[in-house]
């Protein structure tokens, strides 16, 4: 057959491989810098994110109130930590650019502040995070003020229990109560937050929910709900529900499959192409090669093979969940280029004896090495290629889970990688370079 299924070519300045927070952040930073960008990668894992954007939430098993101070002390003790290789001002700017972008696209976030926000979890535990979506902001405020508040949960929604939240927050928040209601139009069987959120995009559903909320809220002026306040227009959905109930309403994250991650994924998939990013979501790059004049990414979508030609590449493929790293019985490998992975000596050393050990597992600190320009290194300590940069949690020497720093590492290192890539691209373009381009050494 001729025609369909033939090889398609894209050309761009910067190719971003990976569609997690790091990958999307990189595309946003590139857009802001007028760099032509193509982004490729399965966005599945992005759907697991909670909506909170952590910078540093914990250090050495202790809760962190001031992430910037924690960052300063991290610099002393863990200089190889990826966050320590980006200066604090850049990290601040990166968060600001990232949240501003989301806000401009209709997903408002609190601006990065000088301290962490004490945010709620569905277990009724608390978590330190830097930025929260506007839909979730009232929760931490209400907690701090011990305001009378009712947590509403839903018949048929598994794994979100108002009773659990209230039981575990009682000591700190005695004014917290809980109620269970049915979701309009979903009387029987299991219901998913995603389905509820989409239903709330419709005015009629909002009106019915508002009536149900009013019926049980009593004197409480605040209502906490699982994260279901719309998928595409959460800020409007919340505002509308607040208007209809005359109460302040906030969301609490839920366990996967949860709305905030899907929201982010759909937003990015929609907005980035509108802004000029060549986004090829849901497909994995199968090969990356470098020629004299650029890099070539090979991949395949349902329609057929694709080649992306780029002047520079950012590798933001994540860890095991997103496929950037692969754990084999014989050792951990980097998936795309087989870059050397810094890792524990043997498989027996990957995990500690206790799963919830606060120190975290050594395997979490495995990852690839980069030079000061965030270029991945080969086994001999040279950079793999002058056109290749890396960002996100694929980088070694960090435990984003125990450090509560996943978004922070993703956003900060993406910023750094894009800055370095920009410098490289500028150097290539300039006939008479003012400053020499970063050298690969």
């Amino acid at each position: 057959m001729r025609g369909s299924g033939t090889l398609r070519h894209f050309s761009t300045q910067l190719a971003v491989i990976g569609s997690g927070i790091a990958g999307f952040a990189a595309s946003i930073f590139a857009l802001n810098r007028k760099i032509a960008v193509a982004q490729v990668g399965n966005t599945g894992a992005l759907a697991y994110t909670t909506g909170y954007l952590d910078l540093i939430g914990r250090r050495d098993g202790a809760s962190v109130a001031d992430p910037w101070q924690a960052l300063a002390s991290l610099r002393e003790l863990e200089p190889k930590h990826p966050l320590c290789r980006v200066n604090a001002a850049d990290i601040g700017q990166a968060f600001t650019e990232f949240t501003d972008f989301l806000g401009a696209c209709g997903l408002a976030y609190s601006a990065p502040g000088t301290g962490n926000i004490t945010a709620l979890t569905p277990a009724g535990t608390l978590k330190q995070t830097l930025c929260v979506p506007a839909t979730m902001a009232a929760g931490p405020r209400a907690l701090a003020a011990n305001a009378p508040c009712v947590i509403v949960d839903f018949k048929g929604l598994k794994g979100f229990s108002g009773a659990e939240l209230a039981a575990n927050l009682r000591a700190r928040w005695p004014q917290l109560t809980t109620q269970r209601i049915g979701f309009p139009g979903m009387a029987r069987g299991e219901i998913y937050p995603e389905v509820m959120a989409r239903a709330l995009e419709v005015a009629a559903t909002r009106e019915q929910l508002a009536a149900a909320l009013n019926a049980i809220a009593g004197s409480a002026k605040l209502i906490g709900v699982p994260a279901i306040l719309g998928m595409h227009r959460p800020d409007q959905v919340r505002a509308e529900l607040e208007r209809l109930t005359g109460r302040e309403i906030f969301e609490i994250p839920t366990m996967p499959p949860s709305v905030p991650g899907i929201r982010l994924r759909e937003l990015m998939q929609q907005v980035l192409p509108q802004q000029g990013v060549s986004l090829i979501p849901q497909q994995r790059v199968t090969a990356l090669s470098f020629e004299g004049d650029g890099a070539t990414l090979a991949l395949c979508d349902a329609f057929g093979p694709i080649r992306v030609h780029a002047q520079a590449v950012i590798l933001a493929t994540g860890r095991f969940l997103s496929g950037g790293l692969e754990a084999h019985a014989a050792g951990i490998r980097e998936h795309l280029l087989d870059l050397p992975v810094t890792q524990p000596a043997g498989r027996s050393d990957w995990y500690r004896a206790r799963y919830t050990d606060w120190r975290g597992h050594p395997i979490n600190r495995a990852g690839i090495e980069v030079d000061d320009s965030f270029r991945p290194l080969t086994g001999t300590g040279r950079c793999h290629h002058e056109r290749l940069f890396a960002a996100g949690v694929i980088l070694a020497h960090q435990d984003w889970i125990r450090g509560r720093s996943g978004a922070g590492i993703a956003i900060a290192t993406a910023f750094k990688a894009v800055t370095e890539a920009e410098r490289f691209l500028a150097g290539r373009q300039a006939a008479f370079p003012g400053t020499p381009p970063a050298q690969c050494h």
Partner: protein, 525 residues
Amino acid sequence: MSSDASTLETEVLIIGGGVTGAGVMRDLALRGIHSLLIDKRDLCAGASGGNHGLLHSGARYVSTDPDAAIECRKENALLKRLAPQCIETAGGLFVAVEGDDPQFADRFPALCRHAGIECEELAPAEARRLEPVLSEKLFKAYRVPDATIDPFHLAMLNVDHARLLNGSFYRPHTELLRFEIAAGEIRAAICHDHLHQRQLTIRARQFVNAGGAWAMNIARLAGCTDVHLLYSKGTILVSNDRLAQRVINRLRPPGDGDILVPGGTVSLLGTTSTRVEDLEQLAPTAEEIDRNIREGAAMIPALAGARYIRAFSRVRPLLQTSGTTDRAATRGFALLDHASQGMDNFCTITGGKLTTFRLMAEKAVDLVARRLGNDRAGLTATLPLPDDAASSWADPAAAQKRWHHDRDPDDMILCECEMVPQSAIEQVFANSPDIEKERTIELIALRTRAGKGPCQGSFCGIRIGSYLYDSGYYRDATGLAHMRDFLDERFKGQRSVIWGPQAAQMELAEALHCGLLGLDTLEDE
């Protein structure tokens, strides 16, 4: 029974909640004798739960231990008749692959015949048709009447039946600390109740040590030094799904990685055998895992790339006889009447194997009943084991089908991997008055299939916890601690096989449990 909650009385105290202890409990009850069964952890926490779940045809022992083979053959036939609800008559194959000793393979049918075990030769092509996972390098295959048995289900049904018969009861998390001994008799067992963190005195007329690998230590608490056990550590892997329909044995003298046993919806690959001195803190080593897979893959190549979700190690108690290797050591059992040690109301039943648990229990109860002046004959060889609905949630071959057939969309599935709904939890609690007050997620997981699938409890642990908060059982942070403990416990079994998709699963789990919920920081809350 005493009204003082810290002192309990019974006719017979059975120490050790493995299948043997549970079997002793039922056998006693059938003879009208009241008993109390205790375990320092919970049912089948030792070798009873830490084996393949193979109901031996006996064929595995024809070359090394013909007597044990005959014993197995008889008990196999008996249990298939009396406890069919715990058994899958999967059938078994013995297969030889390139490199295996053809002479051993040729001798095998005669050895089986000698032990009275059915053995039918299959053409290699026929064997591969029956089990497509078998290696192309297979050159000899025999069919034997191996089956599988679910030890948890079996133990639960034995305990339940005893309770129904005469109110005998079972206490988990009750650890024996010492005996009160006077005038050549044990008067009481002083125990620690781990759930309530208090001491408990149990008075009884007879004491049965069914401690399995711990039997030697328990006997010594009573000053008895006539129990001699060797400890053999065995490591077994559990695959994500069922790779073969039948039990597949390597046709060679027993060795590492030579048996793959279906366990309902999964397969179990084993077993390494290493002599150890220590009974506690056992964990599979990477070397043992790799060895099992390497050896197993010679027989079933797919084992090399399979997704494993768990691996565990347990100690098998082997009766010590001089000059033999662990593999050749007797798989028979021993009943030790400690009268010779000056202890007239104490005995130890140990050794043996899952397949012969009923016989072991019967022999022990014959002795205990005689001592109590009870001359009623044992009934376990003739009376079928009654069924009950709650226990079948533990059955890996049936549990997942129940929800689908009941078709109640409001009965939320809490464990998606194994399809365990809310109603299963309610039934488990309703059926277990002894433990009613002790709802832990671990307890639910032991009595249902919850947490046994690929996510290993990472999602259902949270959903079950939330459900128990909703139902008012948890009212404070205890529920979170139970979630954490459950996940920590599941992790022990996962730790040595986290690679491939399991590493992705673990990253997602940690991000959820620690990154979001903060279960790694409960202490400072």
